[in-house]
Subunit: 111 residues, 2 copies
DNA sequence: TCCATAGTTCGAATATAATCGAACTAATTC
DNA sequence: GAATTAGTTCGATTATATTCGAACTATGGA
């Protein structure tokens, strides 16, 4: 394998993107890339075996959420923010905002 | 069964919502309810057997996307728009906008 | 009370997805 | 060119979802 195939923005499907983001591990990868881009697969793998990681990155690539470039021996991943925005404006931002929302503790009722 | 249980907004999960919306049939139900609320299950069923429909409505209920009220012999469904907005502001709107986007024909390149 | 309607529940079958070890590949370094 | 690194691919296993028929429940009406 030299490089990866990535779908064109017009081939992104909403179902594919929502399915990709519905998995907590994959969502966490997207969130981490949002903080720091690009990153290789290894620092994102959270103790899982390489074959599982590879599978999740494939799902993310096929959905259009990220691009993987082979750079020497490492495979660098970055979010396709512009392509996502062109195809489905505001979608990724809304999901990421929701992920942050979910992470916040539930507000305490006023005493 | 008298009435259904519905999760409280603070128990909505992003994964549950994305998973619910990642299915084309369930997304179509949400979109139809967006056009016209409330509706019973039957007019939304698109030729599928009742047991399948019932399953999809259960997934939608558990995710928090819709509420089902037993009214006489029919079960009326409506979107929990306020609850969704309170829990994950802008999320449903972004997904619905993306669904509309996806439905539009690809723009033709300028000759 | 009997029947029709609307939808649920059960159970089984099928399909799709996730997980992971083992063998593999491509690029880098020594 | 051998060893190392980073990640893929294969194949099997398990888990999760979907599908659907059949039997069931609750309500409303004749």
């Amino acid at each position: 394998m030299k490089q990866y195939d990535h779908p064109a923005p017009e081939d992104f499907t909403l179902a594919g993107i929502l399915h990709a983001l519905a998995d907590p591990f994959r969502l966490s990868v997207v969130r981490k890339l949002m903080q720091h881009q690009p990153q290789a697969c290894t620092p994102l793998q959270g103790g899982r075996p390489k074959s599982s990681i590879s599978h999740h990155f494939m799902v993310l690539r096929k959905s259009g959420l990220l691009r993987t470039e082979v750079v020497g021996v490492t495979h660098m991943n970055s979010l396709r923010l512009q392509d996502m925005e062109a195809r489905f404006p505001g979608l990724l931002a809304a999901v990421l905002a929701a992920a942050e929302q979910e992470e916040m503790p539930a507000p305490q009722p006023v005493a």
